[in-house]
C-alpha cells in the first residue's frame, strides 16, 4: 500500500490530507509549530500513521509523494525575521523600495506609519552605470563601486543581497557583471538578481519583488533543507514537492532559487481542489470561500483554475511574481464582535486567534467571537467540537456576548448572537463581491464552494446574501488546500518585457522570446521529472497611452504566424468584456508591454473516491436533535443532527439540519435542501 500526502501549514493548524492507493482518503489536523514548522509536519505524519495503524517509519517509507504548502516565507516577512539583506542598485533611485510610490493607505489617519523597509537605507547601496529604456548602455558600470559595496556587505554581516538596476529587463549585462563580482567575492551570500527573478518593466515592482526574494531566501533554503532531512530521518524516500503561490508545484531546489514564489503558498492549493469538486456538478467554475480561524479567503475559479495577478502585496509590500488572485479579509471563527462609537455592531477584523481564542475555548479569552455566537445559536455541540477533543464552555460564550454585545444594544443574548452571525455573514458576502461584482461578474452565476473548518456553518447565509442558488460543501472542506496540493501540476511562469507598439515588433523577435522562455521551462520541468509538458503564452497589451494592461492568452500559432491583426481583435473583445468598451472603431493602436510563458508539467493526480450510492432517506444516520437558531424564521427550533461521516451519495437532507463531522459542522438552513453527490459533497440548493 502506498500513500500520497498533502500538507498545508497554516498559522494555527497544520492540515493534512491522506490518499491511499486503495482509494481511501482522510483529513487530519494538528497544531502548527511556528518556531520550526517541520515539527508540526512530523506530528501530522505520526497522526496519519496511527490512523492507518502503522509504525511511523513504515508509513513514511510507504509514502511516495508529499506536497507541501508552507508559510515560512510569509511569516519571515510578517515578523521581520528574514535574513539581514542589502540592495545594490542604480545611483539615484535607492529609495524607491521604501517610498512605495508615496502611498499612504489610510488618508485620514495621521498616525498611520509607512512600512519598515526590508533593507535599511544604509544598506541600499548605489553604484554607477546606466542602461536606457531601449537597453542601450549610456554609462558603463563602475565595477569599483560594486567592489566597495561588497566591502560594506562583508562589514555589516549581511547574508543576502538583492541586485536591481534601472531597465535591466531590457539589458541585464550590468546586473550580471555586478552579480558575478558579488558571487565571486562573497560566495556564501544568497543573491537575488532582478533580471533573474522577474525581468519585467516597472522599477518599483521589480525592486520590491527582488528584495523580498532576497529577504526570505536564506530562511526558505534553511527550512527546505531541514524539512528534507527530517522527512528522510523519519524514513520518507519519496518525492517532495512544494506548493507555489502561482498555483503550481516545484521541487524544493527550484523554490530555493526563487523562494519568493512561496510567499503565498498556503491557500494556493484550494482553487484546484475546488475545481475538482465542482466538476462533479458538471461545473468548471465556482466561487471558493475558505473561512478559517482568523481570515476568510475568497477566489474565483473559471475554466478549472483561479486567475493570476501580478500586482499582489504582502504586508503592503509589492510582490509582482504571478500569484493566484485570492482576496483575504479579516473574518474567521475567532473574529471578535464589538460595538463602535456610533452604536453599530461590528465583527472583526481583530481576532482572538488560537490564543486566547474564543471565550468558549476557556483559555482566557473574554471577548465574544463568531465561534461563541455559533455555540449560543446551537450550531456547535459543546461536547463534539473537534470530535470531542476540545470541550466548549457555553456559559463563557453566553456571558461574553451578554456583556459586550447584548447589554449595550439592549438585546437578549440570543438576539445578540444572531446579530453577530448576520453581520459576519454580510462581511463575508462583501468579500465575495470583491472578487466577482467588482470584476464585472455576477456571483449568482457561480456555485459557491465552501471550505475551512468554520465555513460550512455560514455557507447557506453567505449564499442567501448573494442570491447564489447552489452551494457545494466537499467532504474535505476543512483541509481543502491540502487536498488541492495533491491535484496540482508542476508549473513555472516566465515573463519578458518588450515595450513596443504591437505592429512594430518583428515576428522573429517575439517568437524567439517565447522560445527562450519555453526552453527554460522545459529544462526545469525535465529536471523535475515531468512527463507531458505544455506551454501557454499570454501577452500584456494596452491601448496606446493607457496605463493598465490586460493579460491576453494567445495560441502559439498566432505568435508563430505573427498575426497581429488577429491578436488585436482578441484584445478588443477582451477589453470590452472587462471594461465595457473598446476602441477598435477609433483605430487606436495597441502597445505590447510583456510576454508571458507558463510551462506546465502535467502530473497524474490521484483519483479521489466516489461515494457509494444510498437512498434519499437519511434517517438512518440521524444522531438526534438540538435547539438551534433558524435564520429564516428568526427563532430557535429543534433541529435534527446527522452524522456527517456516514453520508452516502443520493442522501437528501432537508433544512433546517446540522451535519456533524469531527473537523467541521454543516448547517443546512430552512430554505435549503442538501443532496450528497458522488464526489461526497453536500450540495445545497435553495428550496422553491
Amino acid at each position: 500500500m502506498s500513500f500520497k500526502v498533502g500538507i498545508d501549514v497554516g498559522g494555527t493548524f497544520t492540515d493534512l490530507f491522506l490518499w491511499a492507493e486503495d482509494g481511501s482518503v482522510g483529513s487530519f489536523k494538528v497544531l502548527s509549530t511556528p518556531q520550526d514548522p517541520s515539527l508540526g509536519v512530523l506530528d501530522g505524519i505520526r497522526l496519519m500513521a496511527e490512523a492507518r495503524g502503522m509504525p511511523v517509519a513504515d508509513f513514511a517509507r510507504a509514502t511516495s509523494l508529499i506536497v507541501h504548502g508552507t508559510t515560512v516565507a510569509t511569516n519571515a516577512v510578517l515578523t521581520r525575521s528574514g535574513a539581514p539583506t542589502a540592495l545594490i542598485t542604480t545611483e539615484g533611485v535607492r529609495d524607491a523600495l521604501e517610498m512605495r510610490r508615496g502611498i499612504r493607505e489610510r488618508q485620514y489617519d495621521n498616525r498611520f506609519q509607512n512600512v519598515v523597509p526590508l533593507v535599511p537605507r544604509r544598506l541600499r547601496i548605489p553604484v554607477t552605470g546606466r542602461i536606457d529604456f531601449r537597453g542601450e548602455e549610456t554609462a558603463p558600470l563602475d565595477l569599483g563601486s560594486v567592489g566597495r559595496a561588497t566591502e560594506t556587505l562583508r562589514r555589516d554581516g549581511v547574508t543576502s543581497v538583492a541586485i536591481c538596476f534601472m531597465h535591466s529587463y531590457a539589458n541585464a549585462a550590468h546586473e550580471r557583471a555586478a552579480a558575478a563580482l558579488v558571487r565571486q567575492t562573497l560566495p556564501g551570500l544568497f543573491t537575488s538578481v532582478s533580471s533573474e527573478v522577474l525581468p519585467v518593466i516597472r522599477f518599483y515592482d521589480r525592486v520590491s519583488t527582488t528584495v523580498l526574494n532576497a529577504y526570505v531566501g536564506p530562511v526558505v533554503k534553511g527550512y527546505m533543507q531541514n524539512l528534507t532531512s527530517r522527512l528522510a530521518g523519519a524514513g520518507f524516500a519519496g518525492v517532495l514537492l512544494i506548493m507555489q503561490s502561482n498555483g503550481g508545484l516545484a521541487v524544493p531546489a527550484a523554490t530555493e532559487r526563487l523562494p519568493a514564489s512561496t510567499l503565498l503558498s498556503g491557500p494556493a492549493g484550494g482553487p484546484r481542489a475546488a475545481a475538482v469538486f465542482a466538476s462533479a456538478q458538471g461545473r468548471d467554475d465556482c466561487i471558493l470561500v475558505d473561512m478559517g480561524g482568523t481570515s476568510f479567503d475568497a477566489s474565483l475559479v473559471r475554466h478549472g483554475a483561479a486567475a493570476l495577478r501580478h500586482d499582489g502585496e504582502i504586508d503592503r509590500l509589492r510582490i509582482a511574481l504571478p500569484m493566484l488572485d485570492i482576496s483575504t479579509i479579516g473574518a474567521g471563527g475567532g473574529s471578535i464582535g464589538w460595538i463602535d462609537e456610533g452604536g453599530l455592531l461590528r465583527m472583526g477584523p481583530a481576532s482572538a486567534g488560537a490564543l486566547p481564542g474564543p471565550a468558549c475555548y476557556g483559555r482566557g479569552g473574554e471577548r465574544p467571537t463568531s465561534t461563541d455566537a455559533n455555540l449560543v445559536l446551537g450550531y456547535l455541540d459543546p461536547a463534539y467540537f473537534a470530535g470531542g477533543r476540545l470541550k466548549l464552555d457555553v456559559t463563557a460564550a453566553h456571558s461574553a456576548i451578554e456583556v459586550h454585545i447584548a447589554r449595550p444594544l439592549s438585546l437578549s443574548t440570543e438576539e445578540a448572537a444572531a446579530g453577530m452571525y448576520r453581520v459576519i455573514n454580510s462581511n463575508m458576502a462583501n468579500g465575495v463581491r470583491e472578487i466577482t461584482v467588482k470584476r464585472g461578474l455576477d456571483p449568482r452565476e457561480f456555485p459557491l464552494l465552501v471550505a475551512g473548518g468554520a465555513g460550512p456553518l455560514h455557507a447557506c447565509m453567505i449564499a442567501t446574501e448573494l442570491d447564489i442558488p447552489t452551494v457545494i460543501i466537499p467532504y474535505a472542506a476543512s483541509t481543502l488546500c491540502a487536498t488541492g496540493m495533491l491535484l496540482c501540476d508542476l508549473q513555472h511562469d516566465f515573463v519578458r518585457s518588450c515595450v513596443e507598439p504591437l505592429g512594430a515588433i518583428g515576428r522573429e523577435r517575439l517568437r524567439s522570446l517565447v522560445d527562450e522562455m519555453a526552453a527554460e521551462g522545459r529544462r526545469q520541468l525535465e529536471a523535475e521529472g515531468a512527463g507531458t509538458i505544455e506551454n501557454q503564452v499570454a501577452l500584456d497589451l494596452r491601448y496606446l497611452k493607457q496605463y493598465h494592461e490586460v493579460t491576453l492568452p494567445v495560441t502559439p500559432e498566432l505568435i508563430a504566424a505573427g498575426d497581429w491583426p488577429a491578436i488585436a481583435e482578441l484584445f478588443h473583445a477582451e477589453h470590452d468584456r472587462l471594461y465595457g468598451y473598446q476602441l477598435k472603431a477609433e483605430g487606436t493602436g495597441l502597445e505590447l508591454i510583456n510576454v508571458r510563458v507558463r510551462s506546465l508539467g502535467r502530473t497524474r493526480p490521484p483519483a479521489l473516491p466516489r461515494y457509494p450510492r444510498g437512498g434519499a432517506d437519511a434517517s438512518e444516520i440521524r444522531k438526534g436533535s438540538r435547539r438551534a437558531f433558524v435564520p429564516e424564521s428568526g427563532s430557535f427550533a429543534e433541529v435534527p443532527v446527522y452524522d456527517g461521516h456516514r453520508l452516502m451519495a443520493g442522501n437528501v437532507i432537508r433544512g433546517p439540519a446540522l451535519l456533524e463531522r469531527t473537523d467541521t459542522t454543516v448547517f443546512v438552513s430552512a430554505a435549503y435542501t442538501g443532496e450528497v453527490d458522488e464526489a461526497g459533497s453536500v450540495v445545497l440548493k435553495a428550496s422553491q
Binding site: V93, G102, G342, L345
Partner: protein, 580 residues
C-alpha cells in the same frame, strides 16, 4: 407612513452595502478612464446620495474632492424639483453653483424606485480639458471664469433615457480633447453601476427599511462626530496663514483667517476675517474651501467614522462671498483646490493649542509641474504631470514622526509616483535622481516627514513646463519647539549654464534638450524640542544619510564620529547639558 422598527444589525449591513456600491463605482471609473490624472492619479470621487442630496456613502481617492458632490446634489435636487425623471443624467461643473473647480465635472443620475425618486448616484473627476483660454485649464493669467473654462450649470444630457444630442454636442464643441467625452461617458457608466446596485438593495430589503435605516446611519455618524467634538475644550480659537503670489502680481500676499468656535457638540469654522478675493486665479470656491476645512478636521478625529451626511451635521462652515476662499461671480478660481494647504495651516494653528495631541505640524505645500512637448523616440506628443516630484513630507504629531514623501494634505498619500521606467518610456526625459532629501524634515522630538529631490534631463526640444503651487516662500511650520521643514523649489539648469528658478505659478516655453530639471519638494514641520529626540534615532538617521552630521549636532545636539557614526558620548552630554 408607519416607521419600521430600526434593526441595528440591518443598519450595519445596509451601511456595508452602500460602501460596497460606491467602491464598485470607483473601480469602474479607474479602469475605464484614459486621462492619466483619472486612471493614474485617481483624481475622482464616486458617491450615493439620498433624494435630497444628502451623502449616504462615497469612495474618495483624493480627500479634497470628497465633500464636493453633496452640495451640488442638493442644488440639483432643489433646482429641478418636480422635473427629475427616470433615465435622466445631469452634468455639472459650475463653481458659482457649488462646483469646486472648473475642471472637476460631475455626472449625476437620479435613482427611481417605481415612480419615487429615492436617491442619486454621482461621479466627479478632474477632466483633461474644459475649454477656456488654455489647454488643460490652468490659466495663470485668467481674471474671470470664461478665460478658464466652459461653465456647465446643472444641465440634463439625458432625459428619460434619451440623449439630448444638441446639448451634448454644445458641451463637447467647447472642449478641446476628445478624451474628455470618453471620460465623461465613463462617469455616466459608474453612475449606472451605482443605480443598478442601489435598486437591487431596495428590492432586497424594501424601500421603507432602507429609508428608516439610512436615518439611523446618519445618526450613528453624527453621534460619533459629536463625541469627538465634545473632547475639544469649548471656546473660540483663531488661526491664520498666508497665500503667496496670485499669478499676476509678484510678491503679493493674502491672509486666510479662521475663527473656530467649539460649543457643546458643535463646531464652527468662520472665515469672515479672511482677505478679499484676488484679481488672478488664486481664489477658492465655497465648495473647495469647505472640503479643505472638512478634510483637515477629519484628520483630527477618529478616522473610522463612516462618511455620510450625519458626520457633517455638527460642523458649520461660514465663508462670506467675496473673500479669497469664496470668490464672487465671475472671478477666476482654478487655483482654488490648491488653497487647501494654507487653509489647513490656519485651522491647525487655531486648534494646536487646545488639542495638541491630535494635530500635526505644518505639511509641505504643493508645488507641481507638468511638461509637454514632442517625444522624438515615439514621434508623438506627450503630457507628463510629475507626480513623483511634488510629494513632500507631512507634519509630525506629538507622538509620531511625519510621513515621508506623502504629498500635499489635500491628497494625503492618495496620488502615486509614476514608475521610473515607464516615465522614461512615455516621455523623452532621463531620470537622474529621485531620493529623500537630506535634512528636509523639520527637526523635533518627532521629526517632520522627508521631502524629495527629483532631477531629470530634459529630452526633446521646445519642451513646455508649467509650474503651479506654493511653498517656495514659507516653510512648513513646527510645533512646540520644533523647527520648520525645507522650502519647495523648481530650477532649470540650461545647457548654456543659465539657471532659471520657476515662479510658483509659471509657464516656461522652449526649454531645450539637455536642460537639467531640479525640483525639491520640502519636508514637513517637526513636533517638540529636537533635544528630546532619542539619541539612537538621530544616530541611525545620520547612518542612513537622511540627516547630516551638522544637523545632528546643531539641531539635535548629538555628536557623532564622522567616520564611524559612533556616538561621542561626552560631547553629546555637554551639548545636551544632560548625561547620556
Amino acid at each position: 407612513m408607519m416607521k419600521p422598527k430600526t434593526d441595528k444589525v440591518l443598519a450595519a449591513i445596509i451601511g456595508n452595502a452602500f460602501k460596497a456600491i460606491t467602491d464598485e463605482m470607483s473601480l469602474t471609473l479607474e479602469k475605464t478612464t484614459r486621462s492619466p490624472i483619472l486612471c493614474e492619479a485617481k483624481d475622482f470621487v464616486t458617491g450615493l446620495y439620498d433624494a435630497e442630496g444628502r451623502m449616504l456613502e462615497q469612495t474618495e481617492n483624493l480627500p479634497i474632492l470628497s465633500f464636493s458632490l453633496s452640495p451640488v446634489c442638493k442644488h440639483i435636487a432643489e433646482r429641478f424639483r418636480g422635473e427629475v425623471y427616470p433615465g435622466d443624467v445631469f452634468f455639472h461643473n459650475d463653481v458659482f453653483s457649488f462646483g469646486n473647480q472648473n475642471n472637476d465635472v460631475a455626472a449625476f443620475k437620479p435613482v427611481f424606485s417605481g415612480e419615487t425618486l429615492v436617491g442619486w448616484a454621482a461621479a466627479k473627476g478632474h477632466q483633461a480639458d474644459i475649454g477656456g483660454a488654455v489647454r488643460g485649464g490652468y490659466n495663470p493669467n485668467a481674471t474671470e471664469v470664461w478665460q478658464e473654462a466652459l461653465r456647465i450649470p446643472a444641465v440634463k444630457v439625458y432625459e428619460r433615457g434619451r440623449l439630448r444630442r444638441d446639448v451634448w454636442e454644445l458641451i463637447f464643441a467647447n472642449i478641446r480633447l476628445p478624451i474628455v467625452e470618453e471620460d465623461m461617458r465613463a462617469e455616466i457608466g459608474a453612475c449606472t453601476v451605482g443605480e443598478r446596485r442601489l435598486l437591487s438593495l431596495i428590492d432586497k430589503y424594501g424601500l421603507d427599511a432602507i429609508l428608516a435605516h439610512k436615518e439611523y446611519l446618519f445618526e450613528a455618524s453624527r453621534k460619533m462626530m459629536e463625541a469627538e467634538i465634545a473632547r475639544i475644550p469649548q471656546g473660540e480659537y483663531f488661526g491664520e496663514s498666508t497665500v503667496y503670489y496670485d499669478g499676476k502680481n509678484e510678491g503679493s500676499t493674502f491672509k486666510i483667517r479662521v475663527r473656530v468656535k467649539v460649543e457643546d457638540r458643535h463646531i464652527t469654522f468662520d472665515y469672515s476675517q479672511s482677505d478679499p478675493q484676488t484679481k488672478g486665479f488664486v481664489n477658492g470656491t465655497y465648495t473647495s474651501s469647505a472640503s479643505a476645512t472638512i478634510l483637515t478636521f477629519l484628520q483630527m478625529v477618529n478616522p473610522d467614522i463612516p462618511h455620510n451626511d450625519g458626520m457633517l451635521q455638527p460642523i458649520e462652515i461660514v465663508i462670506p462671498e467675496g473673500t479669497i476662499l469664496n470668490a464672487a461671480y465671475p472671478a477666476a478660481t482654478t487655483f482654488g483646490n490648491h488653497l487647501c494647504p494654507p487653509n489647513a495651516d490656519a485651522i491647525i494653528r487655531a486648534l494646536a493649542p487646545v488639542i495638541p495631541e491630535r494635530v500635526t505640524a505644518g505639511w509641505n505645500q504643493l508645488l507641481c509641474s507638468l511638461s509637454t512637448g514632442l517625444n522624438p523616440h515615439r514621434n508623438d506628443t506627450y503630457v507628463d504631470i510629475l507626480f513623483m516630484g511634488l510629494k513632500g513630507g507631512s507634519g509630525a504629531m506629538r507622538d509620531c514622526d511625519g510621513y515621508d514623501h506623502i504629498g500635499m494634505i489635500d491628497a494625503s498619500g492618495g496620488v502615486l509616483d509614476q514608475d521610473y521606467e515607464m516615465f522614461e518610456h512615455t516621455t523623452p526625459h532621463t531620470l537622474i535622481k529621485h531620493e529623500y532629501l537630506r535634512d528636509s524634515g523639520g527637526a523635533g522630538r518627532q521629526r517632520g516627514g522627508l521631502g524629495v529631490e527629483t532631477i531629470y534631463r530634459v529630452g526633446g526640444d521646445a519642451t513646455q513646463i508649467v509650474a503651479f503651487g506654493d511653498g517656495d516662500v514659507e516653510p512648513a511650520f513646527g510645533l512646540d519647539g520644533a523647527t520648520v521643514g525645507t522650502l519647495n523649489k523648481i530650477e532649470l539648469h540650461y545647457p548654456d549654464g543659465r539657471i532659471l528658478t520657476a515662479k510658483s505659478k509659471d509657464l516656461i516655453s522652449g526649454v531645450p534638450a539637455g536642460t537639467v530639471y531640479v525640483q525639491h519638494a520640502g519636508g514637513g514641520g517637526g513636533y517638540g524640542p529636537p533635544t528630546e529626540r532619542p539619541i539612537e534615532k538621530v544616530r541611525q538617521e545620520v547612518r542612513d544619510g537622511i540627516l547630516s552630521l551638522e544637523s545632528a549636532r546643531d539641531l539635535y545636539r548629538v555628536a557623532l564620529d564622522p567616520a564611524t557614526f559612533e556616538l561621542l558620548a561626552e560631547e553629546t552630554a555637554r551639548l545636551r547639558g544632560t548625561p547620556v
